[in-house]
Symmetry: C2
Subunit: 270 residues, 2 copies
């Protein structure tokens, strides 16, 4: 087996998926990645499943054209709305963030425990996490909560101080001391971990699906014989559908390191 040097494709509506890419790069340092942020149509979280599915199929087609070996849907809203359509339409493996996140939450919850899921209005409305969690752990009680202001707060970089604390209090204050685990069901939310933990208190464990997703990608590549050959020099490409300025600026906070630059591509009307 020589391995497969083709990149892993990753898409999100914008910068949020960079938290998943970060975990992926840390877990699989020898793998090349190609990231696509659909910044011309961001955000997805307040849009309908039909529109999100249409955009997701376009994003996937773009990445598949660039010869990726596996697709990561690094956006909870897109996973919740479009994963079946993507799996059906593509010949390569497709991994979303919901199932790994649900498995991590299921592992974190005590018997007959309570789990909260926070996400965009679209993700919460889909019930995707609730279904996945209840299938794994029928004894667990699940409560979903849409927190639409968390995305703009994270993008604005207002991740600490009074404003995020008050916003988190307003969304989640009534859950304080009442849930064993909370799933960060949106790839933007890890940036607001401190504000969210501060409101919920030390008894609630925060679950981030980024690492669980990276672990699943590693397993899938391994079992399919698709890991990059030993000694391969990885390449990390970034594409966006609007001009890259804001993506590069805001994205560095999500990726945890400077972005090397991103190329604008036109897939909106392709």
């Amino acid at each position: 087996m020589m391995g497969d040097a083709r990149p892993i494709g990753v898409f999100d509506s914008g910068v949020g998926g960079l938290t998943v890419l970060r975990a992926l790069n840390a877990r699989l340092p020898g793998e090349s990645t190609l990231y696509l942020g659909d910044t011309a149509r961001v955000p997805y979280g307040t849009k309908s499943p039909a529109v999100v599915t249409r955009y997701s199929l376009k994003n996937a087609a773009f990445l598949v054209d660039r010869d990726i070996k596996l697709l990561v849907v690094a956006c909870n809203t897109a996973t919740a709305a479009a994963l079946p359509a993507l799996e059906q339409g593509l010949a390569i493996p497709v991994i979303g963030v919901v199932a790994p996140g649900a498995r991590a939450a299921a592992a974190a919850a005590p018997p007959s425990g309570r789990v909260a899921v926070v996400g965009t209005p679209a993700t919460i409305k889909s019930g995707a996490y609730t279904h996945a969690l209840r299938a794994l752990r029928p004894d667990v009680e699940v409560v979903g909560r849409a927190c639409p202001l968390f995305v703009p707060l994270a993008e604005e970089g207002w991740t600490d101080g009074e404003v995020p604390r008050l916003v988190a209090e307003r969304y989640l204050g009534d859950l304080r001391g009442r849930v064993d685990a909370l799933v960060l069901g949106c790839t933007h939310y890890p940036l607001l971990k401190d504000a969210i933990s501060g409101v919920l208190g030390p008894g609630t464990r925060l679950v981030d699906s980024a690492e669980a997703t990276a672990a699943e990608v590693a397993e899938r590549l391994q079992s399919a014989g698709l890991l990059a050959p030993a000694g391969a020099v990885p390449h990390h490409g970034f594409n966006v559908t609007d001009v890259p300025d804001r993506f590069v600026e805001v994205g560095a906070r999500f990726l945890g390191r400077g972005l090397p630059g991103a190329e604008q591509v036109d897939i909106s009307f392709a």
Copy 2:
């Protein structure tokens, strides 16, 4: 003269333009209107001029196909980015919100006064208000300030209480007592008037371009002989590019009355 019963076309990226439609309906109660909210691609305020122009031309083409007699660009970002392209491409009159808003601000500012303009990152970056204001009143000092969180706050309905007050304080606190007038340079912002005034204090007059825009539309229809015939029964249509649920729910707050329902149309890939 029999008048012209065709509707006035109005577009915005989403619900924000309903504040302009509201002023238009109040000022011209006999006129029919056709509103288009591009909810599949909202928001425009964080996107590039090229992308906003592309979307604006699609929106305008949709409305022109439905035989409107005049187009109102009820979105500051779209006006700032795309007004010249729209004027050049259409055979009917086109009215944006920036020039009327700038005229109202120019009238409100004392000699050698100071005017602040708040808007989306795209509107502020364009400098459209600053240019328009300086052309009218070279003696006036203009300061622009992007306030990206105001849009999600208004859409979430968090228009009073501690969160909007703190957000307004963080964006505008340093301007307290230092500006004579402030232009609400985004159609979402009138919903946050109280929070903004509370931070700036009673010495700052808030200027909303909706009424100034409605007055300009009235004038233009009158001078072109395009007013609706006396006794005409007006019709008000609403179209959106994503499913109408959220638009109808959130939009009622912006329009100040219940929305009669909205029809989804597909112009994204037309």
